[in-house]
């Protein structure tokens, strides 16, 4: 019982220390813009549905950001996973794509911004659907192609790399076994390559989601962005509302960590066979 209490307490010590230092520093500095009090930020986080300086509420901005990330990320996963599987399995497809993809890999997602703006401007899902007014327009107009693209680039490479890695590390005996048991090429993909590389794919998806979430702020700083947690932070900064900046940063951290935890759970629960298998 005592050990359990201790193991639950240890992770809390560092954040508690940070809070104490924050309180002391805020009192010493005494300047809202440099470091607002902890109670102000806590108050903002405690009332997430309140409208903040006409930028919408904290929660609605977080939700808008989440929708963007999930869309860009889903597209990245839908492209990267099948591509990674065929690249991992067929040597010639790997050779065909690898050099080309490696050329783009070192380019930070942010460096794409000018080009992406030239391509997509401020066009959004609303542009495609042809809406120009109404509530639906407001929703769809939040999903800008430029943003999706930046998020896509961020998530694409980690997912691709770990999918290729996962497929290449499959024990060939498993593939041979499936062949001898009568599996068709399609069945080998669906029933051997995908499940066997799934643990590695999930790890890539976890890393990819983390990076996609990080790319979000830069994507939301793009012109035409009028919502989202990244927009909220940059806009609050121009208004010298440092408390909102910090509340926004904390929200980003909490959401990112929660998503990561979900993936870790899946890794742990579904793929215990990988840790022990051999």
């Amino acid at each position: 019982m005592k050990a359990r209490a201790l193991s639950l307490t240890i992770p809390l010590i560092a954040p508690a220390l940070l809070a104490v230092i924050w309180v002391i520093l805020a009192r010493q500095i005494g300047n809202q813009v440099i470091l607002p009090g902890i109670e102000q930020v806590a108050d903002l986080l405690g009332h997430p549905t309140e409208d903040l300086i006409s930028m919408g509420s904290l929660i609605s901005n977080v939700l808008v950001s989440l929708v963007r990330v999930i869309m860009g990320y889903a597209i990245a996963a839908l492209v990267a996973i099948p591509l990674g599987i065929v690249m991992g399995y067929y040597g010639f497809i790997f050779k065909f794509f690898n050099g080309f993809l490696n050329l783009f890999r070192p380019i930070p997602p942010l460096a794409w911004v000018p080009l992406v703006m030239a391509w997509f401007g401020i066009s959004s899902l609303a542009t495609v659907v042809g809406l120009e007014t109404g509530q639906m327009y407001i929703y769809l107009n939040n999903i800008k192609f430029s943003m999706l693209f930046i998020i896509f680039i961020g998530a694409f490479y980690p997912i691709l790399t770990s999918t290729i890695h996962g497929v290449r590390n499959i024990n060939t005996t498993l593939i041979d076994s499936a062949r001898v048991l009568g599996a068709s090429e399609y069945q080998i993909f669906m029933k051997v390559l995908i499940p066997a590389s799934m643990p590695s794919i999930i790890t890539g998806m976890r890393i990819g989601l983390g990076i996609a979430w990080m790319c979000l702020v830069s994507a939301e700083m793009l012109p035409g962005s009028l919502s989202g947690i990244g927009y909220m932070i940059t806009h609050a900064f121009t208004l010298a509302s440092t408390d909102i900046v910090i509340a926004g940063m904390i929200s980003i951290g909490v959401v990112g960590a929660s998503m990561d935890m979900v993936f870790r759970r899946i890794e742990h629960k579904k793929f215990s066979w990988r840790r022990q298998a051999r």
Partner: protein, 254 residues
């Protein structure tokens, strides 16, 4: 023994590999052999003599450089349901339970779930693994895994069962136990079995006929019938004499 049909016929089979430095290497050279239906054949040879290569070609997993393999009258060019292969280890799908592993071949063939499970259950019972049907491969010992691998190959109901050192990674005691069980399964199902091993003892204990291979390049050096009545005892003089003879043959072929 009555005159039986030839089920597998290998003619002038050779396989050449090329190394990364561009040299070529003859793994097996001009192999000719006939496997009788319902017989138990063991292939013994030093490691690297290409005995596994013969099985892989016969299973349709690899292409021969020259020569042919025929199953009944059809040439073997790709894996088919009639020829099963059991590997040395790591062949079970780690993400599937034991019963789903055994049913995998039937799943590939599109057999419906109920029928699959019924067949898998029957074969798991045959190898005494029914109690572990819901376990995962990583929870089993090496011997148990091989039992499941054998059940899986049999569940597909192949005509011929090829076994590539199936007990090679097991400890001596488990190995002897599984040899006895394999014989029981063989007597029950009367499959044609071709088993590759580097253990002379295993070959004499199991086989009707033993093929002795030599290496570099891999070729068949000699073959002999084992006319010891089953169940065979390792304690009788014939067993010892035959062991001695084969070991000498292998020594020459190194």
């Amino acid at each position: 023994m009555t005159q039986q049909n030839v089920i597998i016929e290998i003619e002038k089979l050779s396989k050449e590999y090329s190394t990364e430095r561009g040299e070529s290497f003859l793994a097996i050279d001009n192999i000719n052999l006939k496997i009788q239906e319902n017989s138990f054949t063991c292939i013994v040879g030093p490691s690297g003599c290409g005995k596994s290569t013969i099985l892989r070609i016969a299973a349709g997993l690899e292409k021969a450089t020259s020569g042919t393999v025929h199953y009944r009258s059809d040439p073997v060019t790709k894996p088919c349901g009639e020829i099963g292969l059991v590997f040395q280890e790591y062949s079970l799908f780690p993400w599937l339970s034991v019963i789903d592993n055994v049913a995998a071949g039937l799943d590939f063939a599109g057999v419906e779930k109920e029928k699959r499970d019924e067949e898998a259950t029957r074969h798991l019972r045959m190898v005494n693994m029914l109690d572990f049907k819901d376990a995962y491969p990583h929870e089993l010992s090496g011997g148990m895994r091989q039992r499941v691998a054998i059940a899986r190959a049999l569940a597909n109901d192949p005509d011929v069962l090829l076994m590539d050192e199936p007990f090679g990674a097991l400890d001596a005691h488990t190995r002897i136990l599984l040899q006895q069980e394999l014989l029981k399964v063989w007597e029950l199902t009367r499959k044609t079995i071709v088993l590759v091993t580097h253990s002379v003892d295993e070959a004499i204990f199991l086989a009707d006929k033993i093929l002795i291979m030599a290496s570099r390049p891999g070729r068949i050096r000699n073959s002999l019938e084992v006319n010891i009545e089953r169940p065979r005892s390792r304690a009788i003089p014939e067993f010892g004499k035959m062991t001695d003879y084969i070991l000498k043959e292998l020594e020459y072929s190194m």
